[in-house]
Symmetry: C4
Subunit: 232 residues, 4 copies
Amino acid sequence: MSKYASVKEEAFEANMQLPALGLVVFTFGNVSVADHQNGVFAIKPSGVPYEELSADKMVILDFEGKIVEGDLRPSSDTNTHAVLYKNWENIGGIVHTHSTYATAWAQANRNIPIYGTTHADHSTSDIPCAPPMSDEMIKGDYEYQTGFQIINCLQESSISYQEIEMVLVGNHAPFTWGATAKKAVYNAKVLEEIARMAYLTEQINPSALRLKDALINKHFERKHGPNSYYGQ
Amino acid sequence: MSKYASVKEEAFEANMQLPALGLVVFTFGNVSVADHQNGVFAIKPSGVPYEELSADKMVILDFEGKIVEGDLRPSSDTNTHAVLYKNWENIGGIVHTHSTYATAWAQANRNIPIYGTTHADHSTSDIPCAPPMSDEMIKGDYEYQTGFQIINCLQESSISYQEIEMVLVGNHAPFTWGATAKKAVYNAKVLEEIARMAYLTEQINPSALRLKDALINKHFERKHGPNSYYGQ
Amino acid sequence: MSKYASVKEEAFEANMQLPALGLVVFTFGNVSVADHQNGVFAIKPSGVPYEELSADKMVILDFEGKIVEGDLRPSSDTNTHAVLYKNWENIGGIVHTHSTYATAWAQANRNIPIYGTTHADHSTSDIPCAPPMSDEMIKGDYEYQTGFQIINCLQESSISYQEIEMVLVGNHAPFTWGATAKKAVYNAKVLEEIARMAYLTEQINPSALRLKDALINKHFERKHGPNSYYGQ
Amino acid sequence: MSKYASVKEEAFEANMQLPALGLVVFTFGNVSVADHQNGVFAIKPSGVPYEELSADKMVILDFEGKIVEGDLRPSSDTNTHAVLYKNWENIGGIVHTHSTYATAWAQANRNIPIYGTTHADHSTSDIPCAPPMSDEMIKGDYEYQTGFQIINCLQESSISYQEIEMVLVGNHAPFTWGATAKKAVYNAKVLEEIARMAYLTEQINPSALRLKDALINKHFERKHGPNSYYGQ
């Protein structure tokens, strides 16, 4: 039995949540799970339909993006995952989807403004949209550079990857992450719902204002602060 | 067996209606049920996924928001429910959701105009949107103040809580109530549908007019007036 | 066994199609079926949830709206159905819903422009929206007058009820009809889809043009003309 | 047993995917499968509901549109399929739907701009919208001319039918194709999703820019180029 059996099983289950939550059509998404102790992560094989997926089809790679175990070719976005795991040592899972509303904001090249408490329950800032990369970077190692595009975007917004667990890549689609793959999948669904609500908010009131700071802080603190009182 | 067994069961069943009606994702909502004879209400525990919910996990509190029975922490919105029960003696259930369209109107900080008979079947006025509270109130007992924000909003609009059973809290999300929890859940779904139709109405005709008074009165009377002829 | 057993069964089955096709929430709709031989029609009882419906609960009325058989109160819209059956002798079924997109157009008080062949497959004209009736008519026999509002709307547009089988009642919602209840239900779903597509068409191109006459005629003729070649 | 049994079975299965993928209501769509060796194709019979469909009901025609086998009348769009098979020798399947968002773009008479990588994964150009044909052509052999309308549209855009496998017919609806019927159905779903995302993108940012060339090429190449690394 593979020493990576449990991380493969976790990756399989998290990947299967994407169609269950309505976040993907066909094969437009992937989830990975990190095993920091062994310095590897498990990721969905490329282009395999969800209904044909199983735990043993997951591919194991190190944080340089080198295959360690697995017969199938890994997701074409694998190097983006590798870069994020290598640079953000505390994340346990990463999700990439082309979910409809989040992708529409990415295609619009706009940050998602924080318009309400649903957003504030999960982040104190707008959801940043990383600008499209330069032509030279695209022609180089594109997926690798996408990882740095995400890292740079957060740095320029002065937000740590622990404060916000979701980002849009301009003209492309969203990435989310978290302490576990389960949390990263949760974030992918939350982001889609936030993106949908923000779109509708602007349609209903084109001059809608961002949430004021006192409410942003209150809602984030009650869920994530030292005196949080949400959850068990 | 707990003397609150039946109110817990009722709260459990009403809470389970929220995902069934498509009004919540994850744990974004809660229903409570009042037992006015015993001066208590049952409410969903905080952050527990709907699929893990059961009647015995419901928390019993008095109308001051003090826990009377239950091992779990109650919904973070509990004090809002407590204030409403204490001040509105005739309501038997309260629902809070972040349903998509109603929340978008709340984020837009707009009342929902009464555009048609679907709305008039349930209310003779626009659905009011309570303004965001002052920073001082937010920093104080936030959920408690949310209750008063709702009560004040109705008073300023000169509407009684028996005439309208739904409200938006600006930048936040909707609350609905009713003589029973079942009716409050019904109102939450109706509000979501009214919110969606009003949004589409304005997109189709940006200068759409509110329903005229004769139609408002006719539709409300035929469902709720002394000579009503809707239902059995 | 009631002599109306078969018309009741047909009405029951047609009513159950409304939630199955996503055209109603709760009790927001009703279907009736005419039995012209006996001069009666069967209609859904008022306010009874679809999951509690059965064929024997259908109410039988004559074309004056007088109850002939049944213990329950008929749909509050019954008189609208009665007027249409009395005046349009060739229709076998009528459907009333508050389906989302069709109702939004009704609330916007706009005819639905004929933008494409999906629409032309079912009608050669825009879907007319009857204007809201005068205050005096509303205060009188409202549902009875709604029937005449529909009849007058078609007459003023010079369209016969056989050429078009769907209409919007301004500020209210759609009515559809057909040779059978099954056809009327089909029309209710088609109208909802046409309404949705027309809304999106205008969002995508605010200066979209109506379909040109040659295409309107071609599509209607191939489905309904003397040399039709659609269907078996 | 018919020598066309396997192509009929394939056509049946591909047709049943349309309602499963949410691309059709009632009978608003059809799939055909070519058997180039025998110079025929199998297509859905006209107006038969999907729940009554079976493999033996499929109609076999040659590429002139003449029936070779089958008791039922073929889809009214059959001649469009015939023209495409006759002129494009490498396609194995064709799909026609009235899917909501793609049809709305067709009714708006607009090409779908390439706004993101979801689009670029499938095409390097905007999805072209063929202009409505002249009145004379409509009055002639309409479905036959629709086929030429599609062929001419691609020629005028200097795109081969192998580079792009989807098109809109102005005021009408989409057609897609592929090496197999399964691929053509896949393309129909992808087109609907691209159409929906592009609509939302313009609502969120009315001055959204088309994807830049470097990204278009990168995404298309990684999925379809000589050094592609998507899929197995």
